[in-house]
Symmetry: C2
Subunit: 342 residues, 2 copies
């Protein structure tokens, strides 16, 4: 395996930063990828085929990368335990399972520019393969055997499904406020970022201070990351990240740009949001009109401002570690994740 | 809680037998039910509502009952550990999660005579609440903390999803033979029966001989149970078990009565099966016609014969235990499960 992960767009600084991280964690990521490939094996060829489609769909392996990085920052010089490898694969499997189920929930036809699994093999198969990958992740954790880590990751799984239910329950509801939205993204996204960081430290028996720092870093990076992701969907100038701009609008998904725009809108504009988001009654030019209102009230600017709030907390939390190359890159990762939006 | 579980039909001997088991395991089942109710709590009211709908849908708590029974048979006189309570709730949660996802896969409108969760709250919510319950089951197991038990139950979860994928993949395929069908029901049903029995013994540190006996009992009971379940769907004289007779036929589901009937059919009859099952092109009288062919070739009689094969293995496996009330009832449970079909 000459290159662990192929990234298309090399002039994107977030991707540069990920590449730098992949380089310094290269051996870990090679082992994690080998574990992932080994664990999608099944006597039933279709399981391997669909699992392979989702785990090789061009994802950045961001969560196992956080696990690896946290491990490398915390490990003692002679520590050669490889528990972070299986656990890195486990967090990636949890992530892959949620992607399969998410695409069913959102009726997504594409994922990272390719046809989604539900589009190729149908919703039913996607639900079942999600269950398979989720079970595999618990197999990997059980093999590790740490009660503390199993509790953390099973709590995280509960949190993820709670976040997803909350999000679906709020579907097209314009009365959702910023705090409810923060609850959703904390549960569905940030909790797994946080756990991915924590487990990397936990296997080294790092101090509680360091593990808490990793927890805070992951949680706040996750919040920042999801905020920017949601803002990108309303940014006409953003790079093509395999995500179709305007998808959230088309689905009537309630994210921060919409929440802020609705709260700041006059009554005529409020009616526009009710028609397009609540009733999902959209004309050809409505997305352009939505972008105009979002721009008028600085909603993208303020979404970025919120994301910087979380970014600052994440960066400060790393003060618990001495300066090192991993720490530098984790800080760069945060800053460059915001610069995805430009 | 005066009565743990309400059973409608008291003159059915399988249900009598379950009631007898519920009586001698009464305290365990009360505690397991309390744990189930405690663990469907969530900050999100809808999660509790849908979870409650599925866990209180009139199921017999057969799997936790097996866990309790196995525990009671194996425990030493002074053993007062209550680990089987949390684990009994965990196996019921795995079962409930698969029911929610199954009903989405099969587009079932009813479960045990009541509207199914997907019919009330939609497929998306059912997928997510299934994920929630599945995560909860791993939370309960993590709390128990036994690596061996976690490995068993995560392996079982992988097996269940493999069985479900295999079944969906074989959908409407008349070339499926008996062995492939056995693989499906072993994975999707019998594996959890087997694991439910095993964990009851494992928490008592019973001898390997006894744990192997429980494993064999559960696996073969599960095979026997699923075979009878599949036969009931083609039995016009069977009691109303909240299951609509003929559902499997309508869905084109490949179960043993159909597999045997197709293999034994003449070419005209084979064309009938191709039209009705493969092409799902069914007229008003086709179910009656299907029953006639199934009767002509003794397919229900032979499905029962196969189930008795597994029943005998299950009953013999209990030879590893001295005679006791639990063993007597576990044997009666097997025999009466076959007499559901009459």
């Amino acid at each position: 395996m000459a290159k662990v992960i192929k990234l298309k767009n090399t002039d994107n600084s977030f991707e540069d930063c990920i590449n730098d991280l992949l380089n310094i964690c290269k051996n870990d990521l090679i082992s994690i990828n080998a574990t992932i490939l080994e664990k999608i094996e099944s006597d039933i060829p279709l399981i391997k085929k669909i699992s392979s489609h989702i785990v090789n769909s061009g994802g950045k392996r961001l969560r196992p990368l956080l696990t690896s990085c946290a491990y490398q920052m915390c490990k003692k010089p002679n520590d050669e335990n490889n528990r972070h490898i299986g656990l890195g694969a486990a967090v990636e499997f949890i992530h892959a399972a949620t992607l399969l189920h998410d695409d069913v929930i959102d009726a997504s036809k594409k994922r990272r520019g390719k046809l989604s699994a539900n589009e190729i093999w149908g919703n039913k198969m996607s639900v079942l393969i999600g269950d398979f990958l989720f079970s595999r992740s618990f197999q990997l954790m059980s093999k590790d055997g740490s009660k503390e880590i199993l509790q953390l990751l099973s709590n995280t799984s509960v949190q993820i499904s709670e976040g997803e239910v909350l999000e679906l329950n709020n579907d097209k509801d314009l009365t959702i406020n910023e705090n409810i939205y923060f609850d959703v993204i904390k549960n569905k996204t940030a909790s797994l970022f946080s756990a991915s960081c924590q487990v990397g430290g936990m296997v080294t028996e790092a101090t509680n201070e360091k593990i808490e720092a990793l927890k805070t870093y992951g949680l706040n990076f996750g919040m920042c990351f999801q905020l920017i992701d949601d803002a990108i969907d309303y940014s006409s100038s953003s790079y093509n990240l395999g995500k179709n701009i305007g998808d959230d609008f088309k689905e009537g998904k309630i994210t921060l740009p919409i929440i802020l725009a609705y709260l700041r809108s006059n009554s005529e504009e409020k009616n526009f949001w009710k028609k397009t988001i609540q009733d999902l009654n959209q004309d050809e030019n409505d997305f352009e009109k939505a972008l105009d209102i979002i721009k008028k009230y600085d909603c993208i600017y303020d979404t970025i401002k919120r994301s910087k709030h979380f970014a600052n907390i994440a960066i400060d939390s790393l003060g618990a570690f001495k300066n090192n190359i991993f720490k530098d890159l984790l800080i760069k990762l945060i800053n460059s994740s915001i610069s995805r939006l430009r």
